[in-house]
Subunit: 336 residues, 6 copies
């Protein structure tokens, strides 16, 4: 079983798999060559050193390889460091991806099946065909199912884009009945496609970062091109409908200042923007709260993007209340 | 039956009830005194003149009175004007309020019963008791059921505050199951109380305007005082719970610049802000679209607050699609 | 010869061609039907009335038709009004477009030939082929040569888009030698294509306005789609080059707040943004100064977009100086 | 020859000239006094220690002196440190300024001669005389030729102000012919004088910093005072011309928020602002790219002022293209 | 005695002095020439017509002349209009300035004597001499005593600049003792000189407007030049002191966005900014309240610059309280 | 007598009182347990270690206790560290508060007596009674006299809230006479109560921080609740007066962006905002200057909130001037 970086303590003997993040050679005061490594898994990263058989080991693996490492953890200048006695490359097929990268808690295939189900709610044949093209494009799906939804802000884990997409589609289903005159087919299609450009904007094979075209063009434009590309395969797709759908993608950030080249101009675009923003923010805050609340405190650390801290009410506040096994009534008596 | 101002045409003989908006006396070139009036109902307002029996008529009614008017519509300098031959005051009890003021389309008592039902979802005894105090305070209710939700932006009609409050509470019910860890009791209470200060901020007896304390203090503060006032009657109400609830009210505008003295710091406050904002915006746009789309156009007039126009997709776009008698699936398979 | 609206004075007998902007029927106090028209040409618009043969005339033309009108100019309520005695429809082929719409001062075909010449400076075969596709696409060119560059701000006349495009390309040629390391081919291609989406964003057949897709998607996105469409026809077009070129289009507004979904990230994008912005502003101010400086004043009216007035130095300031027949030295001794 | 700080490696014996940035005495655990120094040249700075003959050495030089140093580079706590065995003061005349401070690549006197040439394009006798006064004021020139154009943002090296000034004047020459109605004399004078206040705003004898009056008044005001001072020597200088010229200086930052007390109100001021801004930005980005692009990356580090990174296209993109020995056509066929 | 424009009623016979604001000739339907005038005094302006002896009258006066007018007020299209029977030019010496322009309520010479007194509090000989130069420069004083402090915002009346200057100096005296370490001499001098550039920025001979150099350079720069000009006459004036004083002028608007090229960097500059801003705002609001509160209302009209209305508490609130004959400490020397 | 942390030097034997800020146990390389402490007083904090009698000592005191410590200061890795030989808890009554926390320089009881005096200027019986309730509420006063006025920005020391309150009240007295029509009673009451919510917003028993309700509700709201609470005890308190007073509290930050839910709408609110802001800024800058000006410099460090540095004029500037023994009018009652 995987030994996680964060669990390693001084004097531990380590025998486990890691990802090589950095690799460079250096020279000791006495003139000997040694290797400096950074090893990583999903829990964090640590320094490592190879003092023996340097040349042989060095040739056997590269940066960004997964490796099997044996060694001993020692303390050097108040930091933990792994003195490696054995290291060898392992193939990507032999590792468990979720040992190395943060991964969605929910099962990816289950989420995808849910998304298929949601997409079947769509009755408009043009939109339905368009989605069909996407949801049966295996090249696309291989990235779509794995991509995170962002580098740092929300759903930043493998499967995060799928999770966020499904979550937004479900929010659309929950809220659509509340207002008359909103078009469900358009909204559902928009919710499923709104972030697909992230498949190209982000690179996520070894770490979460932006691709070159991701930085130069952004996921809104990249997604639009993917949509345009599929619509081209549907010669009867109405141009008006195409404009409306593209407008949903273009305007879903809501404001110029947040990178939307257009602000929402239809009721569907307005709702999609609010639900997407709410889902991203709530997930982002929840992720933040998981790691950034000091023990014994009800206040999170300062969140730089929000420029504030968040508060977690003391659980005692609700203790007296037995959490009800209530059947939440979602059905539509509301403002509809 | 009421003849509406907007339906009056040149040469019509008019015999109906109106509200006197302005009343002043003036003098003709030939030295005779006459009365200049503005008459109003829910459809608009028009000029009127009294040329005969001026003194007698003048004493019989005042500005802000409802009056029974007979006269003839003539055109003067390209505008319609009513030459009044008879006018007399009628009592407020004799008029139908919705003839004179824009009024919610839904029945006010039905909406109120729905709100009672929603409030019964709350299990926390403190919050439940607090709501009970509000929902049984007849003085409060007499204003709460009648108040608009704003002067111009959204739900600007009698019953609008109740409608918006109920709508927001329903949105909370629809969305609460989607995320774990959100407290339904707190959110429902917050949604029901978030705008109660508007009962005091707005005056809506003759026209929709701000009260003095409304302008000086604002509905957020006025609502907080009403909450504080009721909590004082509940000596066991936990202080922490009180802070959390008040925080929902204080932060529901989301940003300093929108008049919130605090930004949302709890997950409940974040969700309440998004749903409230979405409900206000969608209702506001829908109201705007009802009157501000030129015939034959798919684009609304320019909306000053949004600094843009809105688009209504051509209905032909969806015509081919038989609108499904679909059972919308709201239940909670979502990102929850 | 065309009689311009702005030149018509009280009591003039008019016999000329106009564009019908508005057309509606109305009824006189004595119960006769008459027609109210708005007639327009490039100099302005005026009210007109048809009092005789109303029915026959009314059937013979519609709104947005060009018409031959005879009549007499009279003054009504301090405004000039044309009493029409004869009106008949003329075909679009019979009119001179520049009588009716503001039109570039420079000859359109000459400008287009200059643009062809500039495009031949490009040595990179991919970019050269791409431009070739555009500059030989007659459907595209028929709109590109006629489109204005904006509705109100700059180059707002037929041929304005071409003029601005050519002007920007020339500015690129003038400035490219000044800095090392900037790629001329990319910059020239970017300058020629940067605003092509305006061909679709604007409608300019009868008045300058936005098209539906223009409002929903904007010229940046519409231009990108046109570029993508042509690149598809060039299977060897390098993807990196495509991203760089598209980035120029996406970022040429320079800031999110001005509708750019990306800010300039390459030196070429930075330069293109500055030169484009300078050209638009200088042309816009010059156009504004042409009509908005009160006689006898050195200050223009208040310019709403700039939130200021502009100053035209008194010509006497330079009079003493014989304007030099100087050979301006543009060649590149500069900071290069 | 100068040994640069950045080239020194562990165990090197060093014998070279440096600038003393910091100098303080300290005490070892065993109670002996030693000196802690920071030594600097144009490549960077390093720690140094004097353990022997402390008192004698200490008296022989001060902070901000140039010194001749002998010693050995050792590693202490992972940082390089120079153990000094000999140190003595050298006079400023003996050093090569560009060994110690970043310096313009172009020859300062050549640039100045170019500026003289450019200034001779000016035909207006008042402006010409004004420039003459500046360009023959040796006290002024001794600072003007040496000053950087800013502390951190662009042209931050000795001679940078001259380089930027010349560059802007050349840009004016390149662009002036493109638009009619712009006054070349005014623009050239404005470009040459626009930043002269930096001669007083910055101090640049030992490091680049702001002077007291520079911080309190800023280069715009200080430049204005220098211009006013010279104009006083020209009793016939027209007041209108003086206002126009000063307006160019006052408004060249373009926006209040960037420190301009006035926004550009003449066409000349508009163009000067754009060209100045473009020149500063392009030079600033180029300087940044020179040092802030990690090896192997096409992306620069994050630039704090721009709040983004910059992209350097892969050189392979253009490799196939033989760089043309093209005669760039700058002459004025453009939008003029 | 002067008959004020605002007091004229239909059918009044008028015989009084006015300022001619506009003058143009026009033609009646029957082909006769007549003159259209706008007449003005401090209370407002009105239309006037000359129907008889048109040519003779027309030659006898020009726009911007003061005239003696006889005529009768009639109503035309709901507006009052003066039919002139006699008109003749009067010399500027014969009119009372305050009949035509809004004028400070306080006596100008008394205010000036107060300012002299305040200036005598200054002990620093350099600052004292500097002020002496200003306060004995009759050319300067003739404008300084008459200038308004702004066109629209505050102290917009003849003598307003002097009143605001004196008021600020008194505020400095009132507050200086409250904080230790603030230099009274510097602050008093700064307060007296802070707005002197308005003497040149504004033109106020016939109406309040900006001069050309006022628009191009602004009062901050123009004031700085006046200060620099006087300091030149004081060869021993310390440069540091000069910088400090100029910094007060440059930074007194407090923020870049309000046109200050520098923000306050000394304690004196901070205090001067706050007191100046407070004095301008309170005077501006008081002026606004004088004319912009509808009868019977406690709320002013909407103030465009402040983007809000202001509230005047009902006087009844304080009625019960006998206004104390309290000797408020501090009384007296202030702008009261 | 107290030995201050900042005065301790290497090798000093220390015997004094401190506050325990942090306390944790750790293990040496040789396996022995030791204690790591942070000790603090008003001058700063330092590391300390307990190597002997670890268990016994550890049980005798906790974090946030005051302790009597004996030990020796040694240098470890370039930092000073106290090796503790003896430590024991002392009671809070035995310490001098101002040894441990920054404390107002002025005597708290004297300041409070001044405030009482100021409050007696108020003649309005309602306001006077209201203040009486506050100034005789011992529970309130015990916090009010001790609270700082903010965590970091101004008056950040024990007694700071009282000092700032008194200072603002004195500023009101100094300035009230300067403008007619301002109500002294309202302004004085507003100045005394404007920040009372800080009593609840901040916690200041061991360090200056925000309380939970302080973060969730803020001092403006908390102060309003305290005022409301007292007004409830005064049944005759006029509602209008209550609104006016609360408006002063709500609007005293002046702008939405600074957390005011309302902007000042009365003249009193405008003045209170300016004087409060000026007092906070001047005190904040003075505090900052006390510690943040490097020796030998006239410029402070960069102030992050102001985004600038501040300048202290060289004292030599005023030296020549014998500081006048001037009797500044106004002296006396102020914060001096």
């Amino acid at each position: 079983m995987k030994t996680l970086v964060n669990d390693i303590k001084e004097n531990d003997n380590v025998d486990s798999l890691f990802l090589v993040k950095d690799k460079s050679s250096s020279i000791t005061k006495t003139g000997n060559t040694y290797l400096r490594l950074k090893l990583r898994d999903r829990s964090g990263e640590m320094e490592a050193r190879i003092w023996t058989f340097v040349e042989a080991f060095s040739e056997s693996f590269s940066r960004d390889d997964f490796v099997h490492v044996k060694g001993k953890a020692v303390s050097f200048q108040e930091h933990l460091q792994l003195n490696v006695t054995h290291i060898e490359r392992v193939k990507e097929e032999e590792i468990v991806l979720s040992d190395f990268f943060p991964t969605a808690e929910k099962d990816i295939e289950e989420m995808f099946q849910s998304l298929i189900q949601v997409s079947q709610e769509i009755k408009n044949s043009h939109l339905s065909q368009l989605l069909h093209l996407f949801l049966n494009d295996e090249t696309f799906l291989s990235r779509f199912k794995r991509a995170p939804a962002s580098k740092q802000l929300h759903h930043c884990y493998l499967g995060g884009l799928l999770e966020h997409t499904l979550s937004l589609a479900h929010l659309v289903l929950r809220n659509i009945g509340h207002y008359s005159a909103l078009n469900l087919d358009l909204l559902l299609t928009g919710s499923i496609l709104h972030d697909i450009g992230k498949v190209d904007e982000l690179s996520f094979d070894r770490s979460f970062d932006y691709s070159d075209e991701g930085r130069l063009l952004g996921h809104i434009i990249l997604g639009l091109e993917r949509v345009e590309d599929k619509i081209r395969q549907l010669p009867d797709f109405p141009k008006d409908l195409s404009s409306l759908l593209k407008h949903l993608l273009l305007s879903h950030h809501g404001q110029y200042i947040w990178g939307s080249p257009k602000r929402p101009m239809t009721l569907e675009a307005v709702m999609l923007h609010y639900l997407d923003d709410m889902d991203a923010k709530i997930n982002g805050i929840q992720q933040f709260l998981r790691t950034q609340v000091p023990e014994g405190s009800n206040w999170s650390a300062y969140h730089r993007m929000f420029e504030q801290s968040f508060y977690i009410p003391p659980t005692t506040l609700w203790e007296e209340i037995e959490l009800p096994t209530r059947t939440v009534r979602n059905e539509g008596e509301g403002g509809e």
